[in-house]
Symmetry: C2
Amino acid sequence: MARQIYFFGSGQADGDATMKNLLGGKGAGLAEMSKLGIPVPPGFTITTEVCSSFYAAGGKLTPELQAEIKANLQRIGAIVGTSFGSAASPLLVSVRSGARASMPGMMDTILNLGLNDAIVQGIADLTKNPRFALDAYRRFIVAYSDIVLGVPRNRFDSALMAARFETAKRLGIDGSRLNGAELERRVPDAALDEEILRKLVADQKKIVADATRSPFPEDPYAQLWGAIHAVFASWHNARARVYRGMHDIPESWGTACTVQAMVFGNLGDDSGTGVAFTRDPSTGERRFYGEWLPNAQGEDVVAGVRTPLPVSKGSGDDANSLEIKMPEAFAELVAIYQKLELHFRDMQDLEFTIQSKKLYLLQCRNGKRTGRAAVRIAVEMVKEGLISEREAILRVEPESIDQLLHPSIDPAAPKRLLARGLPASPGAASGQVVFNADDAERRAGQGKAVILVRAETSPEDIHGMKAARGILTSRGGMTSHAAVVARGMGKSCVAGCSAVSVSYEHQTMAVTVYDASGHPTEVVTVKAGDVITLDGGTGQVFLGAVPTVPASLSREFGELMVWADKVRKMGVRANADTPLDARTARNFGAEGIGLCRTEHMFFDEERIAAVREMILAGDVTARRRALAKILPFQREDFIGVFQAMAGLPVTIRLLDPPLHEFLPHDQPTLAALAKTMGVRVEGLERKNEELHEYNPMLGHRGCRLAVTFPEIYEMQARAILEAACDVAAAGVEVRPEIMIPLSMTKRELDIMKAIVDTVKEEVFTEKGRRVDFHFGTMIELPRAAIRAAELAETAEFFSFGTNDLTQTTLGISRDDAGKFLGAYVEAGIFAKDPFTTIDIPGVGALVEMACERGRAQRPGIHLGVCGEHGGDPASIRFFGTVGLDYVSCSPYRVPIARLAAAQSALLLDTKGATVETTR
Amino acid sequence: MARQIYFFGSGQADGDATMKNLLGGKGAGLAEMSKLGIPVPPGFTITTEVCSSFYAAGGKLTPELQAEIKANLQRIGAIVGTSFGSAASPLLVSVRSGARASMPGMMDTILNLGLNDAIVQGIADLTKNPRFALDAYRRFIVAYSDIVLGVPRNRFDSALMAARFETAKRLGIDGSRLNGAELERRVPDAALDEEILRKLVADQKKIVADATRSPFPEDPYAQLWGAIHAVFASWHNARARVYRGMHDIPESWGTACTVQAMVFGNLGDDSGTGVAFTRDPSTGERRFYGEWLPNAQGEDVVAGVRTPLPVSKGSGDDANSLEIKMPEAFAELVAIYQKLELHFRDMQDLEFTIQSKKLYLLQCRNGKRTGRAAVRIAVEMVKEGLISEREAILRVEPESIDQLLHPSIDPAAPKRLLARGLPASPGAASGQVVFNADDAERRAGQGKAVILVRAETSPEDIHGMKAARGILTSRGGMTSHAAVVARGMGKSCVAGCSAVSVSYEHQTMAVTVYDASGHPTEVVTVKAGDVITLDGGTGQVFLGAVPTVPASLSREFGELMVWADKVRKMGVRANADTPLDARTARNFGAEGIGLCRTEHMFFDEERIAAVREMILAGDVTARRRALAKILPFQREDFIGVFQAMAGLPVTIRLLDPPLHEFLPHDQPTLAALAKTMGVRVEGLERKNEELHEYNPMLGHRGCRLAVTFPEIYEMQARAILEAACDVAAAGVEVRPEIMIPLSMTKRELDIMKAIVDTVKEEVFTEKGRRVDFHFGTMIELPRAAIRAAELAETAEFFSFGTNDLTQTTLGISRDDAGKFLGAYVEAGIFAKDPFTTIDIPGVGALVEMACERGRAQRPGIHLGVCGEHGGDPASIRFFGTVGLDYVSCSPYRVPIARLAAAQSALLLDTKGATVETTR
């Protein structure tokens, strides 16, 4: 039979860091530390294999296993000099679960296991501190009852409350006038004296006995068997099961269980506890950084009841630093952290406890860090010779560098949180609230910083979004119009903030403010002109102006990007519609434009009149007349974009949205428009009604517009090719790609190609020169993916429009998904919002199918993606596996995509290997 | 080299009826008739292979072919006793194209080829009828110029108009006061005299010469080469190409070309022409039925300028019947028709001409017939021993029997056509116009027949639709709410009638009336209470009451259905929501309910209040309270349905539509509702706003409702299972199937199954009995089809919801498709409306994928379809090929589906064989 238990302690261990599968992350880490000679409290880990056989054996711990556990407890006792179950010299232990990967829903930690009435008394005698002993006991009872016995934690609230009342009375405080929170503040846990605690323990035991119809287990072994049982059972609970289902974690993996001797940092002033990082987790600076508390337990540091003190000198409170207070322990800690960082070759997050001057390490793991720190640490470790460039690339979570590219909220600044929405586009922005695009433009013109607040935005609001510092919407998801456009502009946006109710009439927004537990507490009314601050990276909305820290790209960042570009195989392009966007994209390293939307160009004030004239035209002749007015504008747009992207490909998507998006819908604007155009307002209303669609997403748009009105695409093709000829004539290299939206049959593409080819011959003859260009299509409907082979007969390239492909494949409107997508992610139906990370088994399967079929028909067909997923690291990894030639994303996400593409290439290189990233 | 030309004439022929591929349908038919000894004018057919090599050879007729044609012309001349190109004894010919299958866009017929000035004179001399000769000549010039020379027919209009003016002047009519139509009526072609015709011919020739810069070809051989060239070229024209692409007809098939001696029915009173059917094409009665005209050309019979006379005695005008007027020719015709019907074993449509007492057959083909006739003919022919039962099944076009199941417009009745919409649900209905559901119900309650007219309908209108005789909408397609519900109810419906503009405010509809060429002529205003008549089978709307003929199912129909049921392999179920629908369906032969929609049950007046209470509920408790009120109603519904379908399966789909469909949206109804419910109208408005969706098709509906509000499905599952227990307790066999809508992941299904299983145990315990039932899912999203294997782990059956699957796979909203789907069909992008006949290469591919994957996971998984396509014969054929277990359709389409399923089985049996149907 395989070994069931791995012991560690006193500089030795049966296991090591490579045995994560068998011992879990925690167990393997403790074994490794012990082996390295680092002082860890002794303990042992029951393997994941036992967990698997535990269930197979009907959820029982075998007598053999129990015997082995007892033997190992004796080994612990021998090292520590105590004995499990002994009142005279008691050994207390912690019990923890630990799977290969940490998993929500799994049992956490039970501390101080092994306590009963007699042993508490023994500890009180030994430590001369009965309060300490009783406090540990009452905490243990609650934790054990909750986790192991299934008596929820809140069942004990009233007993604790009664203890506080009693204490208050003794202290002369009128507790009856205080609410719970106030009572807790006035009568903290530390105020409960020995007598009160003794009574509280008795009360708690009665609660357990009533709930379970059985007394609280006094036998330390019974406690231990129960705790181990709970660890293994938690592997099989519903939440863990769902999580595994979502992440393809096999049930057979199981969890390990680690039992370890307790050490106490709260035994007096020569004890203490703390956490530390081997480098600054905020900046990445190479300095030892940590906090500690004398005479405290680990949870006190985290809980924030007492203000922790610095570990090292030089942080303003040198006198209280560990370095000064306990120089020996500090010196030992420094030696250990250096050893550990060198050993694990990454920044470490350490937990330590000093019990009566003796230092113990309780945990050591790769430390969490900000994006800025991740980049600096990775690059500096390469220079220090600790890791390779390839490792450095894999060490930085691409998403985390987003914060480097935008201004951010000053974390130290005081602020008042108003509401939370979706973090739709990162960056921090403060400004006066305005409620429509025209006001935004006007006030911005007066030099004011403004935040545009709308229930939702539409293409008509573009000029206001341009003028605003940030955008806040009360409706719409991560891929709503506001979110997509804001990301494209690199502007802060909080979307779908449902606590905000906008009244355009009163020019106010009413914000319902909620407390931490989700109860509404008040309604704050914000008027036009009031200042708010958005954090688009977290979705937070603050009242007033909160100071922000500007974006700055470090030298290390540049170096990392150079390494990434060396290894990645996929190209990275940007979605950009204007010369300005194009230049931004190029500055961020874009190697072309993967999606240039022509419709945004239609909204400019000078053009929208002609666009509307075109829509209202009664026949082809009138439509052509209106289009002729738009042509010169479009040509100029393309000239600008081609110049900005000299030498690089520019994929231009012909008109996509339904025509009704270009007409106003509110009465005043309609009336004004009717006057300007010299038509009757009824005619405009009728047109609006005629163009109205029940499901615009599935309506008369994309190339369907050109099947009914070919002259629209004729004009656009002409504008593109004339611009290309003009730019080429000026000696600039142009590489246009004309892309058809929403196609699904070869015949559609053939009709579109015929339009383009006819225009091509005319333009090239007129201009006296020919320009090479490519003709291709978006793949954004399931039918297009299914019939990709046919489409590839005509199309020279495919670009996956994964936004629409997700909407149609899943039958989910991204603008309406807010009502249920949260519940879907919560219920484990989707691992992530499928509009953020591509749904690989569904939408991804269609992408893969289209790639295969397209290549079978046209080997070497150029394949890319231009949906929002093109900027999402997890999705980019998938696009790498299907072998796309490039991804295209918002200009501000180009660096993220470059890094993610590099990681995708490295991960593909080491297929099958588990390569860790910093997350 | 293969034979290029097949001759026929004087009782012989080189080809026969089996050679359709080589000679085309017409050529093979003429050869067969000639071989049977039936008098046909002699001629010859140039094979389809020549057409193929013609293009390969650069579009030229080879000298060898020309020589052979000349030789065959001499053979014709030898038989007829004339000579092609001779003025003294001229031979004129017709030239026709003929592919294997008739194809739109192909060249039709050129008559009287071989005429020039000299030959016209020769004919004038021979016939002593110069008017006859000149009239033939001027018609030939126009036809030839149009078809062969590319000078459009309308270029000659002004010349003919001038001839009429000149004639009018001579007749003393003031032509300048008449419009074109009036002029033509006052001065018909027959009024143009010899001199005028001679001038007209000269004018026409000048027009041709001007347009082509070349004189009209006088050489008969040049005319012939041109005509043959045009036949072959028409195979390659754009329209034919598109049609072939759509129908998978290979380009290599080519068309044949038949050249045949002309015969003239207009040479005097001993000549004539006519058409006849071997059985009555309207009723199917076995009697010889036809019409003829003495001294006339074939086109005169069709054109309706003169009233044709009966061929046989017994039709009221015996004196003028062919039987009396030309007894020899009639006797010969009778012998021929009997011979032909026996020979071809089907009802024949004959064209004949009598030239100077000599009878000629010009065409013989399977005759078109009404559905009623098709059924009677097929069944009687089986009894006569002419055909087998299986052949009888294949002889009836399933779609054609639809007219047997509904009342129809009396074809003989006078009527005034107002407008045309989509033929959304067959049947004829007259009634007073009402503009809302309440009025419909009220007036119907007063015993009035009403037609409900709406811009569109919604579930709120159901009670009005029930009360109305027919439904007319100005918006929406073949699968709009109005269309689907009306078909379900078996009620006449004309949908998407865009000429109708409804004003609810004025309680009127303004109908723009168009003439035949599509120009608006007037606007008719119809008020509430005015009577209109709908023909839901054609989409026509008439002013006033038009008499209708009631539906009646013949004995023959019943026999045919019995035969169909014997051979078909797929089951046929019905989509039915109520006990009444269920009984109707069962009467029509449904073998179960494939789709019982529970939401229609929600709209009943007694329940809708509770439904709205449920929607407005602030929390689960309030929601459960409201649901508890709905439960007894739902249970009663299911009891009724289970009883009606005793012993047969009933598939019940849990709630599908988004909740906003159940709230009113107009201000008055909202205000009234607020009052009834004792809530503020602002609350209702806010709820409406909160529930509003941009794309409801892709919104919060289907099982998504139950992910967020599981209590809804709990209530429904309880109602179903309680009803099942109650009905079973009464000794009636129940076979419930619970179906989840809009699922796409196994996890969703697992959550739904857990809901159902929990309720199941409760109900079975409460009721003290267990009832077998199945749990399954709709497949109506692309992702569901892709992940079908996983879904089949949980689902015991799949039912394809091909409406929604089409909407999502193609990205087309069926309610919005009207704006472009017409253009799509016209441009050949879709062969048919994909909401009528399933798009096999796209949607069909997903259906097939889901079938394969579902079966791989769960062999024997039960597979059906419940979308609208379940009642479409062409789609049913496809469902047969993928091996579905059943189709489900509207009750009124069940007989159609039974027949189509039988045909599908027969066609699958004879895979690869081309089995003809009557169409």
